[in-house]
């Protein structure tokens, strides 16, 4: 699962700390998400999509292997 969190974060001019606070996680979780090293829960995915005001499938790109 790839995501565009880094791209959207830059577009919204947010730091990793600020985004982490907005969705209620630790900064390192945002770091791992941006590196595609962690797949979030559905709840966190929805929170992230809500921060960027985009549908969840625009933020997370499903790739079938």
């Amino acid at each position: 699962m790839k995501n565009r969190i880094k791209e959207f974060r830059a577009r919204f001019n947010l730091t990793q700390d600020e985004l982490a606070q907005k969705v209620g996680v630790r900064r390192e979780t945002i770091v791992f998400l941006e590196k595609n090293k962690y797949n979030p829960s559905l709840l966190l995915a929805y929170k992230l999509a809500r921060v960027f005001s985009v549908p969840i499938e625009e933020l997370f790109l499903f790739e079938e292997n």
């Binding site: 699962m1 700390d17 982490a20 606070q21 209620g24 996680v25 630790r26 900064r27 390192e28 979780t29 791992f32 590196k35 090293k37 962690y38 797949n39 979030p40 829960s41 709840l43 966190l44």
Partner: protein
């Protein structure tokens, strides 16, 4: 914050007890130096763990979130599994090598702590691709 204080307290108690043991043991054998080294590493891990939580609290972050809970869950499962094998190994060698019971039990507990620390580091820095686990 309670867990952070508890982590510092436990690390402090272990350090204090090991310090007394170190000072009262006199001439040290190579195996004792290894034990002190391993205990030192475990104390360092505990202090690192507590400082991480403390710095999160200072930044206003949650000290635990879904990823850290996930890491802890996997760490607990893996280290339990490793610990079972470690105790079986100790039971296997106890009849072959003459060790005192307290040394064997101490090695068992130290091994469990080391297994936990290594498992945590593994899951913490490996990431966590949920679908591949």
């Amino acid at each position: 914050m309670k867990k952070t204080i508890l982590a510092f307290f436990v690390a402090g108690m272990v350090l204090l007890t090991t310090g007394f043991w170190f000072l009262s043991s006199g001439e040290k054998s190579p195996s004792e130096w290894v034990q002190f080294g391993v205990i030192g590493l475990i104390i360092a891990f505990g202090v690192f763990f507590a400082f991480r939580r403390l710095s999160s609290a200072r930044r206003g972050e949650p000290q635990e979130d879904e990823r850290s809970k996930n890491v802890m869950l996997k760490t607990a499962a893996l280290s339990y599994y490793i610990s079972l094998y470690w105790w079986v190994f100790l039971l296997f060698i106890k009849d072959r090598i003459a060790y005192d019971t307290e040394v064997l039990i101490g090695s068992g507990i130290l091994g469990m702590a080391v297994a936990f620390a290594i498992s945590w580091l593994y899951f913490q820095f490996r990431g966590g691709h949920e679908e591949s686990n």
